[in-house]
């Protein structure tokens, strides 16, 4: 089931939390919603899950509108809100039973679904404990289990791995990947490695606006029209001379001296620049021991777009 968001705006008083954003998520896609804190990720998710109404714009899920078919939409969405709120005074089993009942699962199927969820999220050892006794990782699993219990077609996860330890993060990501094979998943995060590891597509949002939309690779390529090269020379006597010579090469935009024989060169037209650097070294009798391209990290793109 695909999600279509058109010109969505949400204002709180005079402040715009999201400002005219549009995007589409196709069936079976895992979309990473990326942005700094306060960018508008959670607000967008609250609107998609019919918790809040937008100030303007439209969201259609399948052929259902959030304005006219909120109750039907809620039935096909599984949602893990930010900070994973749970009824801490209930036991895991009671809570999942409640979640199953309220999600409209038929009575005779409830126990089977609970058993499946317990298996999927590996909660068997903890199922009779009261939720407040659980560790953060297990609470997160309970949150995921309640979001998945009614087998929703769409899964919306707001920072699903926040506060988990590295092992738990890996497990939850694996779980999301598995789930994402059949379902449409939107997950928000500000952890970049998370989207790279789990998402098919990334939307970067900043100050309520979409600033980038694409796969991790396409975003990297886009920002690679400017290339960064690392250059290392053996036995450099005068690094100032190298610095000046490098700066005189056309297409080189910046030269940084990392230490006395390592240089970081920002340039366009990388192939030509590589030739020129080589010629320069030959002319000056410098021994070139390394000339490599530094890959743009998602972190860099993120910083470029959101700072």
């Amino acid at each position: 089931m695909n999600i279509l968001v058109k010109n969505l705006t949400k204002k709180y008083g005079e402040q715009k939390a999201i400002d005219d954003i549009s995007f589409e998520v196709r069936t079976g896609e895992i979309l990473g919603f990326l942005g700094p804190n306060g960018a508008g990720k959670t607000t967008t998710m609250k609107i998609l899950t019919c918790y809040e109404s937008p100030s303007a714009g439209e969201v259609t899920i399948g052929n259902l509108s959030i304005f006219e078919n909120a109750e039907e939409i809620k039935k096909i969405i599984g949602y893990l809100p930010e900070n994973n709120p749970l009824y801490n005074d209930m036991s895991v089993m009671d809570y999942l039973k409640f979640a199953a009942e309220i999600s409209g699962i038929e009575k005779q199927k409830i126990n089977d679904r609970i058993a499946e969820m317990i298996l999927l999220t590996d909660l068997n050892a903890e199922k009779h404990k009261t939720i407040f006794e659980l560790s953060k990782g297990y609470k997160q699993r309970v949150g995921l289990a309640q979001a998945l219990i009614h087998d929703p077609k769409i899964l919306i996860l707001d920072e699903p791995t926040s506060g988990l330890d590295p092992n738990q993060i890996v497990e939850i990501r694996k779980l999301i990947k598995e789930i994402g094979r059949e379902k449409t998943v939107i997950l928000s995060t500000h952890i970049l490695s998370e989207v790279e590891a789990t998402c098919d597509r990334i939307i970067i949002i900043n100050k309520g606006k979409i600033v980038a939309d694409g796969t991790a690779d396409s975003l990297k390529k886009k920002s690679q029209s400017e290339e960064t090269l690392k250059m290392q020379l053996l036995d450099v006597i005068d690094s100032n001379l190298v610095y000046e010579e490098l700066n005189s090469i056309p297409f080189i935009n910046s030269v940084d001296l990392e230490n006395h024989n390592n240089f970081i060169v920002g340039c366009t037209n990388g192939l030509q620049v590589r030739r020129e650097i080589f010629q320069l070294c030959v002319k000056n009798n410098w021994v070139l021991s390394e000339l490599t391209s530094i890959e743009t990290k998602l972190e860099d793109i993120f910083r470029d777009l959101t700072l």
Binding site: K46, K74, I102
Partner: protein
């Protein structure tokens, strides 16, 4: 209807899972029992086989008892964020509110049902006016509905339970005491209307055995107003600026 029942069931279980229900029921039964049987204008002092002493004390115990059970209803859900969890399930705001309302009402009904041994004991002591007793219980339930409505509204305006409790008591004081006092000090039509606003006026007549549709409508109206205002507060999140 199914959703309301599921929410009520959960809330009702939570009352008994925590100590809330046990403490409040013990206090309610202890206090009402003490004043019905042992102290003040109790049954033996008045020398009449009547439940009137019980209904008089229930008027005050319910006034404190109900805000204590309603205070957490929305305040806690808002504070912990579970409100977002529940309202993104196939549950409407009204189903959520009514679920809470019926859970509270059921707890009060249990508390009142546990006082039936008082009624049985008194009926063994002399001739009880059964009609008045039934009407008294009905009055207590109706008054409870009104107080639950007020309590839920108070809980919907804040995410602090203590504040919710105090707001509920503050509004309750107007209906239980202040309108009554003002009406006693006012003459003519103002005095009449002020006394009609007082819960005491309506409760007194119904607990004496007079079921007047105006009294019933009065309690139901307060309950509905409380629930409707709660609905307005909850749906503020959908406000379009």
């Amino acid at each position: 209807m199914r959703q309301i029942k599921i929410i009520s069931k959960r809330e009702f279980h939570i009352f008994f899972n925590s100590l809330v229900a046990y403490i409040l029921l013990s206090l309610f039964l202890g206090l009402s029992g003490f004043f019905t049987w042992l102290y003040g204008s109790d049954v033996f002092f008045t020398g009449q086989a009547t439940m009137q002493p019980f209904f008089s004390i229930a008027y005050w115990t319910l006034f404190f008892f109900i805000p204590a059970i309603t205070m957490k209803m929305f305040a806690e859900e808002k504070k912990t964020g579970t409100i977002e969890l529940i309202l993104t399930k196939p549950v409407s705001d009204w189903q959520f509110i009514l679920g809470k309302f019926f859970a509270c009402l059921l707890l009060i009904a249990v508390a009142l049902a546990l006082t039936l041994p008082y009624y049985i004991s008194i009926s063994l002591l002399g001739n009880v006016d059964h009609g008045a007793v039934i009407s008294g219980y009905l009055g207590s339930l109706l008054m409870s509905m009104a107080l639950i409505g007020i309590g839920l509204f108070a809980s919907s305006v804040t995410n602090n339970q203590i504040v919710s409790f105090l707001i509920s008591l503050f509004i309750g004081i107007f209906f239980l005491i202040i309108f009554q006092l003002l009406s006693e000090n006012s003459l003519g039509i103002i005095g009449y209307y002020l006394s009609r606003f007082s819960i005491g006026t309506h409760y007194e007549s119904i607990s004496r055995g007079v079921i007047d549709s105006r009294d019933v409508i009065y309690f139901l109206l307060i309950a509905f107003a409380g629930l409707y205002l709660s609905y307005i507060n909850l749906s503020k999140r959908n406000r379009v600026y």
